[in-house]
């Protein structure tokens, strides 16, 4: 099966800073890929390049098995960074500019506006809308023409909890309709809830890539609380098998690779006469996997 998006050794430099470094990955039809990474990890640069806004220094990418041309973007609904509009134009006129290039009818504009519940604001100038409404309008523009691929860069930015839940519903709905979706976000909880696959970027390189379920099985999380926290920290710091994910006054949260490492930790605690008040083993959240990978 031809991947929807294939990225091969993509690199981008801004003067002396490497934003992307030989990044390669594929996105297959029907996947919801979450792109994670700390600030400056290259998420927006990556999306800008695959959408033709910026030029890569080296490497290639193709959509739908075809070399990239501007016409490919007509098959992709994309929201890049903050929403951009002609603020003096109405919601309808802004939608028309998107629709004209995609040969869409006025009815399709109304449908998209209805999906994001902005029908009442159709004739209002965009500068009168709140940030959340603008974000919803930007999402409506991505839906015009019913493109098979959606790309969102921080889609929940500026949204209140109700708005965030709305976007989550919409993404799930679009996924159920068979669309391939790529989302870059800081909101790890959001990514875990809606994504099937994830790629974690650090310094422009992929440090983890795969199905969300499989990534969550790669590590185990141990939460330990004790009166001798400093002694506990010393044990963990001296062993490369343990990595501190979180630290607080009563204890620490660490990631471990396997049951052997947990056994080792238990033995070392006993040797040092450290009695845990809490010793909890659980599956990690995506946030913990992220912190584990990024802290490497």
């Amino acid at each position: 099966m031809v991947p929807i998006l294939s990225v091969d050794s993509l690199s981008k430099r801004y003067k002396n800073v490497s934003a992307l470094n030989k990044l390669s990955f594929n996105v297959n039809k029907g996947e919801v890929l979450g792109i994670l990474g700390p600030n400056g990890s290259g998420k927006t640069t990556l999306l800008s390049i695959i959408l033709g806004v910026r030029k890569a220094c080296s490497g290639t990418f193709n959509w739908f098995g075809e070399n990239y041309t501007h016409n490919i973007n007509k098959r992709i609904g994309a929201l890049l960074e903050v929403p951009y509009f002609y603020p003096y134009l109405s919601v309808k006129r802004n939608m028309e500019i998107t629709a004209i290039n995609r040969n869409c009818t006025t009815d399709e504009i109304y449908q998209a506006i209805e999906q994001v519940e902005l029908t009442e604001k159709l004739n209002h100038p965009v500068y009168t809308l709140s940030l959340g409404m603008k974000q919803r309008l930007a999402i409506a523009q991505t839906l015009v023409g019913n493109p098979p691929v959606l790309v969102f860069d921080e889609p929940t930015n500026g949204l209140d909890p109700e708005g965030i839940a709305f976007v989550r519903r919409l993404i799930r709905q679009q996924h159920e309709n068979g669309k391939t979706i790529i989302i870059a976000s800081h909101n790890l909880d959001e990514i875990q809830r809606v994504c099937t696959h994830v790629i974690i970027l650090k310094n422009g390189q992929s440090i983890a890539n795969g199905k969300v379920d499989e990534l969550l099985k790669l590590k185990q999380i141990v939460q330990v609380e004790t009166d001798k926290v400093e002694g506990l920290k010393a044990i963990v710091a001296n062993n490369p098998n343990f990595k501190i994910i979180d630290s607080y006054s009563e204890g620490i949260t660490i990631s471990v690779a396997d049951n052997e490492a947990i056994k080792l930790l238990n033995e070392q605690l006993t040797d040092k006469n450290i009695v845990p008040k809490l010793f909890e083993i659980r599956q990690p959240s995506l946030e913990e996997i992220f912190l584990d990978q990024v802290a490497k």
Partner: protein
């Protein structure tokens, strides 16, 4: 192409600053020309109205219109600068417009404004012709070519404005540097070049497309009728060289316009948005 025209029309028609500046251009130009043509000032027995006589009308009107072409360049600079400050060029690329189409949109707009200049100069010229009593029956079109040439001049000014905005990316900075280039930078550069090379600089060539009417020649012509002047002297005055002649000027101005388009297209193509 049709979708670019439609898109540009939607963007422009809803932008009130555009209509304000365009209205300002129309009103200032029409009122200015009508007032000047009605002034009853005499210079050694020759009235201002003489410059609006049928044989000088179109050149004088085009020359006066050329003073207002900078307003059109500012309009285009604002419209292009808006796209960069609103990041809407970036958005349009994301939506599937090619970079060349973005450039083409602004060129179409510039071409439309050039047509507008041609129409407004023609209408104003006809109005002045009738109001000043130059025409008693049908209008005459001696030297009407200057009305077409001013449209070329307007286009060249506007395309240069697009180039400035694409280079400097800021509307305000581009407009300031554009005006400085016209008024100061190029004249200073020209100062270091000997004749005839100083005549071939872009602003010099483009502004010379609508040369100032040969006032000395017109006055001398009239004085000849009042006094007895040697006809050979008159011929010398009327044909006094003013740099590059019209046809080469038009061709060079068109070449410069194409170069500005080329430079802007290159920037559109290579720049990260």
């Amino acid at each position: 192409m049709k979708h670019i025209l439609r898109t540009e029309w939607i963007k422009t028609k809803g932008f009130s600053t555009f209509w304000t500046l365009l209205g300002l251009h129309s009103i200032l130009f029409i009122v200015f020309v009508l007032i000047v043509s009605q002034l009853n000032i005499q210079l050694q027995g020759v009235t201002i109205a003489r410059f609006f006589a049928p044989e000088h009308l179109w050149q004088t009107t085009a020359w006066l219109a050329s003073w207002f072409n900078l307003i059109l360049a500012i309009i285009i600079a604002v419209l292009t600068g808006n796209e960069l400050s609103f990041s809407t060029f970036r958005k349009m690329i994301v939506e599937g417009y090619s970079r060349f189409e973005l450039m083409l949109g602004k060129l179409f707009l510039s071409a439309a404004l050039s047509v507008y200049v041609f129409i407004i100069v023609t209408i104003t010229g006809i109005a002045v012709g009738y109001f000043s009593g130059a025409w008693t029956t049908l209008p005459t079109f001696i030297h009407f070519k200057y009305t077409l040439i001013i449209a070329i001049q307007a286009l060249a000014y506007m395309v240069l404005a697009i180039t400035f905005v694409m280079i400097f990316r800021s509307t305000a900075l581009s407009i300031i540097l554009y005006l400085l280039y016209f008024a100061l930078i190029e004249p200073i550069i020209r100062f270091f070049f000997n004749s005839p090379w100083d005549s071939y600089f872009p602003v010099k060539i483009i502004s010379n497309l609508t040369p100032m009417p040969n006032f000395l020649g017109i006055i001398a012509e009239d004085l000849q009728q009042l006094q007895s002047i040697d006809p050979n002297t008159l011929v010398q005055v009327q044909n006094a060289p003013t740099g590059v002649t019209l046809l080469p000027s038009v061709l060079i101005a068109i070449a410069y316009t194409l170069i500005f388009i080329g430079v802007s297209t290159l920037i559109f193509k290579r720049r990260d948005f």
